[in-house]
Assembly symmetry: D2
């Protein structure tokens, strides 16, 4: 379904970096969900560039909900959220429109759209569009939280610097710390080192990547499907939409392939309200279905492809070899910004699975009534 994702709750994304606006339509929302505009603004600010470690481009991200909300709550009909593009410097981009930026979608867009694509600033491929995903997803992030389901993401690695892992004995505190922070790291020392690594790369006209680790607490056991629409499959499908993500792993992930079965299996023990596992190498998912433990996954984010070093490339119109040197405003890293997108895409994906399982009204809580 191309630019639509989801079954019971679906998001449709539209817009181009230098067009009039970007936006998203959320369909399938329960009626009566409170719109927490402060939360939307907070997640947008976590995604927004800020400081020396980001592009100096200023993005206002003033969103407008043009449908689907009445008196501060969802109506149950499609919610369209629009973010006008106010700060467009097309000049920066037009100059190199014919030269495919390596690591970007310029060449593949030309192949797919035969030259009709809006090439300015990456057009529809621009990371700018994730602002609309964040705005839409934040609505579900809020709704999930009210139902006891919390999502948080930290930068587990940036270049060569690693954060500490989640503290399984005090996840609540870790989640709180991350969701209150703009640069989402659990170990403050690691945060300093990461910023330094970004600045070092920026000084060289280069960029860095990293790994984001996400935890979801409070999901009921029994959500997901055994084949195809596994929790892993759906979350990965969503995560790979985020520009720059090149790998997704759950629980012990690639590391599990080095374990013996006796180490990898998570032993069950009786717990309150259901079984718990003593370890969580399977990331809260067995057979594609949640087991009630925290869902844990990591996304590998590549270094921003926009760098200031000279690069070899081709002219997409003539097909001939060329050299490209970018100017303009670019992020030396997007990992710290992508974290809000991961949170919001996670919320969109899980809210959909929950709505499929428990019906339309579930997300708004028991017996909502607007009378």
């Amino acid at each position: 379904m191309k630019n639509t994702f989801g079954t019971s709750i679906a998001v449709t994304l539209f817009g181009e970096s230098h067009g009039e606006a970007i936006g998203a339509v959320l369909d399938g929302l329960a009626p009566g969900i409170e719109i927490d505009e402060a939360l939307i603004r907070e997640k947008l600010s976590q995604r927004r560039p800020s400081g020396k470690i980001s592009t100096p481009r200023v993005e206002a991200d003033e969103f407008s909900i043009v449908s689907g909300v009445f008196d501060g709550r969802t109506t149950g009909t499609p919610l369209c959220i629009i973010i006008p593009n106010t700060n467009k410097k097309s000049g920066d981009y037009d100059r190199v429109a014919r030269l495919a930026r390596p690591g970007h979608a310029d060449y593949t867009a030309e192949c797919k759209y035969h030259g009709f694509q809006d090439h300015r600033g990456g057009g529809h491929f621009s990371g700018r569009l994730t602002a609309a995903l964040v705005a839409a997803g934040a609505i579900l992030l809020g709704a999930l939280e009210r139902r006891g389901i919390r999502v948080a993401t930290h930068i587990s690695a940036l270049g060569s610097v690693c954060d500490r892992g989640f503290n399984g004995n005090d996840l609540e505190n870790d989640i709180k710390k991350l969701n209150g922070s703009t640069f989402a790291v659990l170990d403050d020392g690691a945060a300093e080192a990461m910023r330094a690594e970004i600045l070092a790369a920026a000084e060289e006209g280069d960029s860095v990547g990293g790994v984001l680790e996400t935890v979801v607490c409070g999901l009921p056991a029994g959500v997901g499907e055994p084949w195809f629409d596994t929790v892993e499959g759906l979350l990965a499908h969503a995560m790979f939409s985020i520009p720059g993500v090149k790998g997704v792993e759950f629980g012990a992930g690639f590391g599990i392939s080095k374990l013996r079965g006796s180490e990898a299996n998570d032993p069950f023990r009786a717990g309150e309200g259901g079984a718990v596992t003593l370890t969580n190498n399977n990331g809260g998912i067995n057979g594609g279905i949640t087991n009630g433990m925290p869902v844990v996954f990591r996304c590998a984010v590549k270094p921003t492809p926009s760098i200031f070093k000279a690069q070899q490339t081709v002219d997409v119109k003539s097909g001939e070899n060329a050299e490209l040197t970018l100017t303009g405003r670019h992020d030396p890293a997007i990992v710290h910004r992508a974290r809000a997108v991961v949170d919001c895409m996670t919320a969109l994906t899980l809210a959909d699975l929950l709505a499929q399982r428990y019906g339309t009204d579930w997300l708004a809580g028991e017996c909502p009534s607007g009378k």
Copy 2:
């Protein structure tokens, strides 16, 4: 859509390990695709347990195509392929039906299906169902090959043993070697070491995991979507359906997060029939869309959860703690068998994307006619 995957070409999976039969329905196939039964049998044999490194269980995998094929070619209407279950020893399983096997879906199935699931041998969650996926996918593997698109997978790591990587200068030869082999490894020495590692684990009543690496050659540039239905997102969605897969990465994958942008970006150069890239850290995909280079990805496969060591668990009916010691016939590794499933799920996913882009008839070749 739960047990259905795909848009223009869709597969629907059904069956349980110890039921009457397993099977799959393939819909959206072009009319006129030749059914190469030998290829189906070959892929099934690559998936089938054999020798000491697999379960001694004998699976005949005699498939029957009950619809959608006439005179040896697809009709264009739904193709249903059925594999009867002939070798069922329910006794082996029933004894432990109440004790959730760690790492398996017994507990999550109980949560989702409230005890109505067919628990015998894993029921609908059984790896046995992948035989139906392989049979269905092999039809598309053959069709893709006739259109110049080849898929091959090798065991890039098994436990601590690593295979050599693909030889980018002679991919054809690597692909040929792999597709003609039952234990898909490029370096014969590695194959020996891997078998030894499996046997060592088996002797201890334990199991091992590994990593599968897949290459797809011959894909046209311009296939895939910028958001959601990215090539990465769809392939990962498909791969996470394969039991035991806990991570999927493309190109340099998680390793790309440690590179600088200047290292990670794949420089373009003019080539015949389109641009080529000098490196392939992006795995043949930019912005979710194929760039004409080989698509490369890896799946992390966990060690088989069925082991013979005693394990802590719970009784799914009473919720109480218990100890479980499995008997019966189990695989000390499934990585080498899963490789055929990866090939076939890859074919299903890519054939769907190609049919969406080029229309229903494309897969059967230009201007097919049965007159």
Copy 3:
């Protein structure tokens, strides 16, 4: 999605008239639904030809549920139901394979499938496939009934003979009478006249059509969507799959176009458990959503296209003009048989809408448990 219909509960249809088997996969069923095989057999017998008013072809319709059922109840995983084709007289059909039967799909199949279709007996287009829809739908018909939702269809017109309408004051009795009958007519006198009309047409080597009227009682108010997935839109989508249906209308249907608004509007009055309407010109649906009144609709069924009179046609291979005179076994009417298909497609469609609204488990009743 071609041969799949439904969102939360989906049916996938496969098979050809003279192939090995026909069948259907039902996915998304709640676990714990009782399989009432007697009801499946009853609906199949209502669809089966019998007596002089039908084809003398004997169809055993022995169905086999090969997956998704355990101990007599649905498991919640895909249910595959298969009906082998036992009585195939291909000889009757092969003779005329090149001559397109007017009113049939022979010519359009040739255009779509380029000659690769299985042409024997209509192949995948054969009314025979509705047996699989009936078998699958009967499972949902039973489940809906246990939740208080009843479906019944009568032959409101056959050729020039009309049945009486539903008695709004005693719908229960009408529904009971219809569901206990093989030739579903409310007025026994009309039944006699209809049979006579069929036999008269048969004697002339001709065929007759008719109109089926369906009522659904017990649906909760608030089901359906305002745009696209309206109750009308989904039911019509389903009904037009039934071979021979050329019109679908709800409530007063085409007749409503001749009323004034003051006559057509259904006035609301306070009732027990919600409002009721004094008339039902809107067929229980306002704005695409159920209002709690009976859903009423009619399907126009064309006369069976297989007739014994000589007809003008073309040879699908050469494209040249030809004359066709059919022999073999054919139905002079299918209206009375199609009624079971309408019931079952109605059940499939509504069960899906209910599952979308109330979640997966709703259909099995409150808090099912197989423990």
Copy 4:
């Protein structure tokens, strides 16, 4: 998928009558389709109220395409079209917000959305939203026309007045006449009588309905699916989204049920570029698939439910009986306006089917290139 319709080309609808804006997202468009803004404006003007036979409400329908178009052509990425709501007199509506208007969706919306719906002016159920469908569909109407596929609709009946039928021998002329007219009638005398009938109803504070008949020429044979996604099923699904449509029939429609098979079957004859039929009782569709003849169908449109006569109803909050007398601005008929919506929904549905069959780029013509 609720407010989204289509597979390869999909439309997502959003907005409320008295909200900020209404709009639609079109996804799956081929790149390079020319945007004919004059055609969009023309179809919008055909839908817009005008003269004494419509509501005196002035709707500017100034649309804005905020994404998916670059240099006057589609980019191939989602096209979002927005129509701001400028003329909102909420006061007219708020007064009766608690009283369910008979024939409208007020009561069912309350049941479905638990009181959270935007009730002003019908909210998301308002016929106003069809302006967005028209704007989106007009883009496809233009694209289809450039590929030789033309769509036209006339008012075949309004209340008791009937138009003449299409002239099969000069369809081109009929189509031209209709598409150039605001009040789409083939017989000018009938047009006069229809206007008189509307005015007569209006004077009594009442309203009238009618029947719209649509013809589609130039469709290739072989489009559509045998089951579920039949051309009839998909068009009907689309048509029942149009507010007030209560019946859809193809070819001879309900009338075919009164014919004998020998009359109903359309005999084939050899024609240029494929077979033709001597009659068209099947409306250009056999077995759910186009046969190359004009596709013909009719929609029954009920009289506008907003009338000025006193009506019995209930208070949706208290559930108690009440009497409702509407004031404000209302249409005594919408049939003549709905015609543009039928044209545009037809274009959306058929463009989707064509894109599924022939691939993404087909709609833009052979080998488009923006280089």
